[in-house]
Amino acid sequence: MKIRKKSRDAAALNSWLVRRPIQRMVWLFLLPTFAAFCIGFLYPFLQGIYLSFCKFRLTSDAQWAGLSNYKTAFTDPSFLHAFWYTALFAVVSLLLINVLAFTVAYALTQKMRGANLFRTVFFMPNLIGGIVLGYIWSMIFDGILIRFNTSVVMETEYGFWGLIILLCWQQIGYMMIIYIAGLQAIPEDMMEAARIDGASSWDTLIHVTIPNMMPSFTICTFLSLTNGFKLYDQNLALTEGRPFIQEGGEIIKTTEMLALNIVNAFTSQATNRGVGQAKAVIFFVVVAAISLLQLNATRSKEVQQ
């Protein structure tokens, strides 16, 4: 066994007293989860990567095709469009959701009257599945837009902001819970000390609360970033990618996000689902890289505080 002293990670400064006995019970603590993880994710995922290099209709009749699927994917303008659109969407939704969710969580922990009730209310949208949410909201958006003789599927901007509103509405409650848990985990004596020092509530927020909240920020920003990238149901139900632009037979679905683009590639190219699979792998690599950068950035702040 190697001793890794150089690790910066706080948890890696682990005490041998605790570490050794746990390590001996790897089969109990780690293995069940890891085994299920292999079945439920890793194996299907690796098989998916393999299939991205194949021509296949069913996963059981794949034929090796080299990089041709990747070539098709990279030259597909709809895929490239979906890519940038999704990136923009993920960033905007990340910022909005987290700012709003933190604000709400902060307000709700200020011993406000009815805070419990509000917390429940804000959380409720999470209880409805994505497709249904999409339909409910398209009903609402169109109910409003019809007064201006247009509809949510007519303009790219409407589809974009519509989806942002929908996602905020759905996920603010989800993130709020995590922020509330983080806020309540800040030791009371720390806040007390700040108050005794005569810090204004703004100073306390900036210098005590937020630095102590970094783990929550890490989790929430990561979740909202990946949720933004992975969005599928709501996208399908709200706009299905409409409106389209046509150029020489190529259709660009202006509000189509990556997950939808990939699934469409599965169904529209029935004889070769490998293209969809290749798109999925590209998508995965990029998102994984972005998320890791983001995680590293916020995690490093955690250690500094």
Binding site: V26, W27, L31, F34, A35, C38, I39, Y43, R57, L58, T59, S60, S138, D142, L145, I146, F148, N149, T150, S151, V152, V153, M154, E240, G241, R242, P243, F244, Q246, G248, G249, E250, I251, K253, N264, F266, T267, S268, Q269, A270, T271, N272, R273
Partner: protein
């Protein structure tokens, strides 16, 4: 670490050892396409099992997910033995289609041509229902407005009648057309069915039978005629159309607020039979008239009758299962319970033993054909990359209808997308 790796490796090995499915008896597994027929199929399956002892499992794909479901199910140990393959699916599923040549179910067909054949002449799949679409017409309302069905013989007549009804809609209490909803729930009525009429005339001019590499969109301009009527002589116009749903359009017609409703024979159940829908229309008040788009000689046009529902038997199933499936099919199309169920659920079917249809729309089609009118074939079944092509067409139509964009875009979508999708279809 080593121990751990070994364990992980062992696990992967177990995973890769796909247990071979061994079954002790023949069985049938049907992956059904139509959710509304699920209950009837289950019942029929039970009855067959009771009578013969052969287990029949019917699983229904949720609406709009047949392809995905088929992919997932075909990969399973117990894959469907009976599934649906239409012209568009032939390319991807052809290898899985058992050659039905000489089987009982094909011999039971009343007419030739109700099958899809592969390039090598094998019969891949067999049609099991014949459907009709056109303009569903409320004769009672038409009469109230002072017209008869016989007054409408071509597009000019239709335009005159529709414009008159629309002009007097406040006084009459109903309008000409129910909403031409562009919402995803029923925009196939236009991107698939309506545009098919333009394809039909083009194919007829060029003697096309099969999937052409390109289309010219010669009759796209004619579609505009009818489409403009739909969207002006109606209570719903402009942006509201972009979100009008299938049910909304149906409800307007069902409640007597519109005289015309473009849809198909499958609506018979909803409009007339199904009490829970609450329409309870009288069959004698209804009929269906052809889709007139202003083409020379369309006075002799009939309804659009065809099918895109075909059964295929899984060639990769075990021999016993294939036989059991073929036996089951024969029973469905010949037995009393089978034919009754088929007639109730699907209206007309192309088999010798088929029950006479009650469906007023199928009857209307037969009457027109008997009168010497030509059938407007379902040309849309030859669309390559159906989903994308239809999406492009419907988007162009929406832009035209709501934002006043040019109708030329519809033609562009028609022609360019077709060419592109065909290339992809043949390349894949």
């Amino acid at each position: 670490m080593k121990k751990f790796l070994a364990m992980a490796l062992a696990l992967v090995m177990v995973l890769s050892l796909v247990a071979c499915g061994k079954k002790d008896e023949a069985s049938v597994y049907y992956l059904n396409f139509k959710p509304e027929a699920d209950a009837a199929w289950q019942q029929l399956a039970d009855e067959y099992t009771k009578a013969t002892g052969i287990p029949v499992k019917v699983v229904t794909a949720a609406s709009g997910t047949y392809e995905d479901t088929l992919v997932a199910e075909m990969d399973k140990k117990e894959a469907p033995t009976l599934f649906q393959v239409n012209v568009g699916g032939l390319k991807s599923w052809g290898d899985y289609c058992y050659d039905l040549t000489g089987t009982d179910v094909v011999n039971e067909l009343a007419a030739e041509g109700a099958v899809i054949t592969k390039d090598n002449g094998e019969i891949a799949s067999v049609a099991y229902c014949v459907e009709t679409y056109g303009l569903i017409t409320n004769k009672a309302l038409l009469k109230k407005a002072g017209y008869e069905v016989s007054d409408i013989k071509n597009f000019a007549d239709l335009k005159k009648v529709a414009e008159d009804i629309h002009a007097r809609s406040a006084e009459l209490g109903f309008d000409a057309f129910s909403s031409a909803g562009l919402d995803g729930s029923s925009n196939w009525r236009f991107s698939g069915h309506l545009s098919s009429v333009a394809l039909f005339y083009e194919f007829r001019d060029n003697n096309v039978s099969g999937m052409p590499a390109t289309v010219t969109g010669k009759y796209v301009e004619n579609l505009k005629n009818l489409w403009d009527l739909y969207t002006t002589c109606s209570a719903t116009t402009g942006a509201a159309l972009s979100t009008a749903t299938s049910d909304m359009s149906e409800a307007e017609f069902g409640q007597g607020k519109a005289v015309f409703f473009q849809n198909g024979s499958w609506e018979y159940n909803n409009l007339v039979l199904d009490a829970s829908k609450g329409f309870n229309m009288k069959a004698e008040d209804l009929t269906m008239i052809p889709l007139y788009i202003g083409v020379e000689g369309e006075e002799k046009a009939g309804l659009c009758t065809g099918t895109e529902n075909y059964w295929a038997v899984n060639a990769k199933a075990s021999e016993a299962d294939i036989k059991a499936t073929l036996d089951f099919l024969k029973w469905v199309v010949t037995s009393e319970s089978g034919t009754t169920m088929m007639a109730e659920q699907f209206g007309a079917s192309p088999f010798k033993a088929a029950k006479p249809v009650e469906n007023i729309f199928c009857k209307a089609s037969d009457a027109l054909i008997a009168n010497g009118n030509y059938n407007v074939d379902w040309s849309f079944i030859y669309t390559p990359g159906t989903d994308d092509w239809r999406a492009a067409v419907i988007d162009a139509i929406s832009q035209y209808t709501v934002k006043g964009a040019s109708w030329d875009n519809v033609k562009t979508a028609f022609v360019d997308t077709w060419a592109k999708e065909y290339k992809e279809y043949t390349a894949g």
